[in-house]
Amino acid sequence: MSKQLKIAIILMVIGALLTTLAFFMAFYTARVQGFGTVVSDQPLDTAFALAPPSMQPTDGIAYERPWLSQKIFYFHVPVAEASFLIFTIAAIFALLFLLRKDKKYDTRSRIAMETAFVFVVATMITGVLWTRASWGVWWDWEPRLTTYFIMMILMIAYFVVRNSVGDEERAATYGAVFCLIAWVDAPLSFIITRLIPSNHPVVFQSGMDTTNLIPFIIAQIGMLMIGYAIYVLRVTEESMHERIELLKERLEA
């Protein structure tokens, strides 16, 4: 077993522990304040609707309704940000492939796309559940959700296109070109909630309490570790696959 693979497995375990830790911290130590409460005489953040009047505890301060579902934040956002990051890495490898025409960049780009896709699906599932809990609907065509959904479709298209091309090198070139075009959607999806008014909360715009920030950062680091570990495992698997093919060819000759 290679050194890189060992590190990957260790990172996977640490990442799992960190995200679990963050999950419990989200319930035990994170304050709801900042996300959960607002001062009534201030303009309301559209992201968090007020709780029904009967549930409001004191004058001047109001609880926002979705404060428990807000706990999804601690794993939804880290997964989403990791997906953007891994997609960007895939696009960088795609660009490198087009410039150098070296197969190893294509393999890396493809595997990064796969990893990013796993994270996109995870983001979608947690996101849909949060939408249901907080907005009362399963899906809403608002800018962030729409652009993210399009990004997922583009990723699926990437794999469909690759698989429908017979020639290996042509598949790699088409994949790289399509990855680059599709990637344009990632920064768009990331900044769109800051450009167009929407229901989707904007993280870091209103500031975050330290007790909220710590579990968030822990979860983020954990998710990135898991993402890296998955990526390395897939790369190892792919190189094993290549070696098998090579050996088979040698045996046939």
Binding site: K101, E168, A172, E242, L246
Partner: protein, 250 residues
């Protein structure tokens, strides 16, 4: 035909093909592996080899349609196939088993389209001259879809000769042709072989051997044999061919 084209003439002493350490690989798989050979102008090179030996890849690299891998040094008519690809394209032509003609255009429209791509002025006279040479003047205004296989191939030859290429690639030009059409193609090639360099990929051993001045056998992306026909030991050649291609030679 005296010409005052402002397309650069190729000097006589320039090598038609100067291939050094040509490698083409994707990952660990090598389509071409360290191919090295040289060919002077006005020669006829036949490339033989089994399926998947890299013949077509070699031809496509020489014709600037595919890029070689890094470390290769391929010069055609003095032009580097990667850096000077654009300039080189004015000097090369291709006859393939595909006609490379638009079936819904007439013979004349097809030729005129390619004349425009090459920026040939005074194309009318050139088109008439070429149609006459391939004996298709009477079908000038007919659409190519109505042509027989042999006529299409003749028109294809006219299209190739239109920009007066110095080097012509032949990619399995006989496949799908009946014996009569093959003979016409042979005669046409024979008429211009003094002034042109030919590079042919073919499965037809007899015809390839008869036409060529140099023979090259590729197997698994490597050059197994490269010889001038003058010095070529026919028996040795056939033995090598049999061994690599694995087909019986009559």
């Amino acid at each position: 035909m005296a010409s005052t084209e402002n397309k650069d003439r190729i000097a006589e002493d320039v090598l038609a093909l100067d291939v050094a350490h040509l490698t083409r690989k994707f990952g660990v798989r090598k389509a071409l592996d360290d191919v090295t050979f040289q060919l002077e102008q006005h020669r006829f090179l036949s490339i033989f080899g089994p399926n998947g030996a890299g013949k077509t890849t070699l031809l496509r690299i020489l014709a600037t349609l595919t890029a070689p891998s890094q470390g290769s040094d391929v010069t055609v008519l003095g032009f580097d196939v990667v850096k000077d690809a654009f300039a080189l394209r004015e000097h090369i032509g291709l006859i393939s088993h595909n006609p490379l003609l638009y079936p819904d255009l007439t013979a004349e429209e097809n030729l005129r389209f390619f004349a425009q791509l090459y920026g040939i002025t005074g194309a009318d006279a050139r088109i008439d001259e070429l149609l006459d040479a391939v004996e298709l003047t009477h079908r000038k205004l007919d659409i190519v879809r109505t042509f027989s296989r042999g006529m299409t191939q003749r028109l294809s030859l006219a299209r190739t000769l239109l920009p007066r290429p110095e080097l012509i690639f032949l990619d399995e030009p006989y496949s799908g042709l009946d014996p009569h059409a093959s003979d016409i193609l042979d005669a046409l090639i024979d008429g211009i072989r003094d002034k042109h360099t030919f590079v042919m990929v073919s499965h037809d051993l007899e015809r390839g051997l008869e036409l060529c001045s140099h023979a090259l056998i590729l197997a698994r992306g490597k050059v197994v044999l490269f010889e001038d026909k003058e010095t070529l030991d026919s028996d040795l050649f056939r033995a090598t061919y049999r061994e690599t291609v694995g087909l019986g030679v009559s």
